[in-house]
Symmetry: C2
Subunit: 454 residues, 2 copies
Amino acid sequence: MATKPGIPKGTRDFSPVEMAKRNYIFDTIRGVYALYGFQQIETPAMENLSTLMGKYGEEGDKLLFKILNSGNFLSGIAPEELGEANTNKLAARLCEKGLRYDLTVPFARYVVQHRDELTMPFKRYQIQPVWRADRPQKGRYREFYQCDADVVGSDSLLNEVELMQIVDTVFTQFGIRVCIKLNNRKILTGIAEMIGAADKIVDITVAIDKLDKIGLDNVNAELKAGGLSDEAVARLQPIISLSGTNKEKLAVMKDVLAESETGLKGIAECEFVLDTLSALGLRNAMELDLTLARGLNYYTGCIFEVKALDVEIGSITGGGRYDNLTGIFGMPGVSGVGISFGADRIFDVLNQLDLYPKETVTGTELLFVNFGAAEAAYCLPVMAQARQAGVRCEIYPDSAKMKKQMSYANAKAVPFVAIVGENEMNEGKVTLKNMATGEQSLLTPDEMINIIKK
Amino acid sequence: MATKPGIPKGTRDFSPVEMAKRNYIFDTIRGVYALYGFQQIETPAMENLSTLMGKYGEEGDKLLFKILNSGNFLSGIAPEELGEANTNKLAARLCEKGLRYDLTVPFARYVVQHRDELTMPFKRYQIQPVWRADRPQKGRYREFYQCDADVVGSDSLLNEVELMQIVDTVFTQFGIRVCIKLNNRKILTGIAEMIGAADKIVDITVAIDKLDKIGLDNVNAELKAGGLSDEAVARLQPIISLSGTNKEKLAVMKDVLAESETGLKGIAECEFVLDTLSALGLRNAMELDLTLARGLNYYTGCIFEVKALDVEIGSITGGGRYDNLTGIFGMPGVSGVGISFGADRIFDVLNQLDLYPKETVTGTELLFVNFGAAEAAYCLPVMAQARQAGVRCEIYPDSAKMKKQMSYANAKAVPFVAIVGENEMNEGKVTLKNMATGEQSLLTPDEMINIIKK
């Protein structure tokens, strides 16, 4: 036999059981998005490279999967271009299209392209795979699904509130206990202003973000090594060591940032979101966390991240407010806020905590054993009746040995098996075997259906 | 403003309304597949080119979208290779991966790769996009979904029977009246044998297939032009002009093919499928149609095709039996039979016949008008309660002019609007406006929910 065929590294096949679990995840998220008035769109897997390039930084450009032009892709390319050392430049000549790298840029493109058809605010969700030529490693794939929801065309903080309610509802439905962390880019900007190092905001937040991992002393050392004065680092101390309830934290921060208009605006935004949500009674905790520093290149207001409480894993959902989604495509002034559920990590968490509902796997409920042509002919109308009643059933297609047919039932984890021989045919009945208990009963088709459906 | 961004030709964005309709199609097909014991799998968008190349003929190889290798894709390629005229050969050096062209080859690869985990017969379905660098035209796209179901590892004709039941059930659920056409590759082989032109089977079937379009005389002329003797063409006449019921057609064919063992086998197969199905009482007609000649390169037994009766459009579903799915990957002896629903054409048929159920579009059911911060704060817990009861609702995020908010409700086709001002807040109620009738009533939240849910 030839070598077993494989699939590209970093990609996956999904088996029936995995698919059932993934569908459970997607259907749950989809259902909650719909409950909040979000509408689904889909965009093509391939976008023009001109849409994608330059949107994810230099590193991102390299991680785009580019699609070779069809036909004579060399036509019009001079020999000296082929010899060039800059393969990125050549790639752009050989390829016009690339696979989408996330759902945000295609969404921005969608909004601009369809602006005349859209009513703002536009609340869309999108659940589709994305592709990145990242080095594959545990939990990181080259093809993976994103589940994004965004509201664009509204500055209202009620959108932030709704997104947090969505997060809370989704994880409650999953049965995963989480902590929802909240920060605000404006607070971080205020902090940088306050210590007179507005250009160092990224360094500062990166250092603060390491607090859990490396401890306060090392954070301070890193801040100094990054060029902050002793005085600046000293002024940061109450922020780095911030603790207590959200109200207490906000009170401290109001003091610390009293002179930063931007900082105070960020605090007011967080306060509104936290107060409004606390009146609504979320089932999961929300925590103001100033060390949360994701997406600083594009988030401009609230930033969120969700951590699972009972499993050691990175963030399983995240998002934030951005001010200028579509500016890159020449349509300024469209503010938005969005979240993205990490389906792959949620899949792992549900597995580890064994939280999938039993009915997730919608496999065959009833297998008819096949004893031959006459018996099969008897079974077919009974099966049609069962399906009419919503019973997922099948007949073993060949009249193989009983043992083989029962192995098949076991391998597919079929809970009920129907056995029809001469006796059953004469009586107009079937023998139903409960595979869990081993119990067998001679029943009419109606009785059989009732037992399976209950 | 910069040029509006676009998408690659032959690809599409799907708007919320289109998505809702597509989900209705996919969910219906998915539900019926599950009812017959089929299980869903997914495979990666990218396959190794070695898996895809050579599986779709020379033309197919050209239509594969190939993905440029990441990093330095020129490394190891000699300058003279770059100058070569054969771009296909160079493409294979620049690209290791390609986008899947159909779901059949990835499925064959899946079966071979996972053979040790699978229990045969394996009944799988798969609903995913495929990509082809075809010239785009009306109804033909470069990215489109296929909805395939196959049973592999069983020769039993009960599988053919079940697939026809699935087709019948799906189109009954859609409300599309169809004719299911059946043929058998073995009958076609028998015909070719009978007239002593076994090598001309493709020419013959292509010519016969044109009967509807060009008429009998032209078919005969084409057959002669193709090298058939007058005698051979004369012997084909009863077949080309075959008519009557399925039983009558089969009777004629039994005579005509009396000396072809293969031909008689094909007739017996069709007879079994038709007889078994007629005992089950399909809701759509099945018709033996010898001019049906699809997939002759790979189908070896029954061949099916579905035509919509009330819309002029090509085949909307098709499939057949193949003998050696996985031989290309070194695993011989795996027979199978499958069908594929044409989602894009079904989408068009449902649109033309206006058959989408009203509840297909699961948009917002209830919009809360936003009169300001206090009113919004009052609305939020009412909305939480409504969502708890399954009502899809949202609040207009900004306290914009009433007219703007009502336009938004109209644009999203929201059936109910809740209006909350001082009066409602004082009474603990909401004013519910039915957007279709214009009727307004002052209600408690519970009353409001009951009206919307009924």
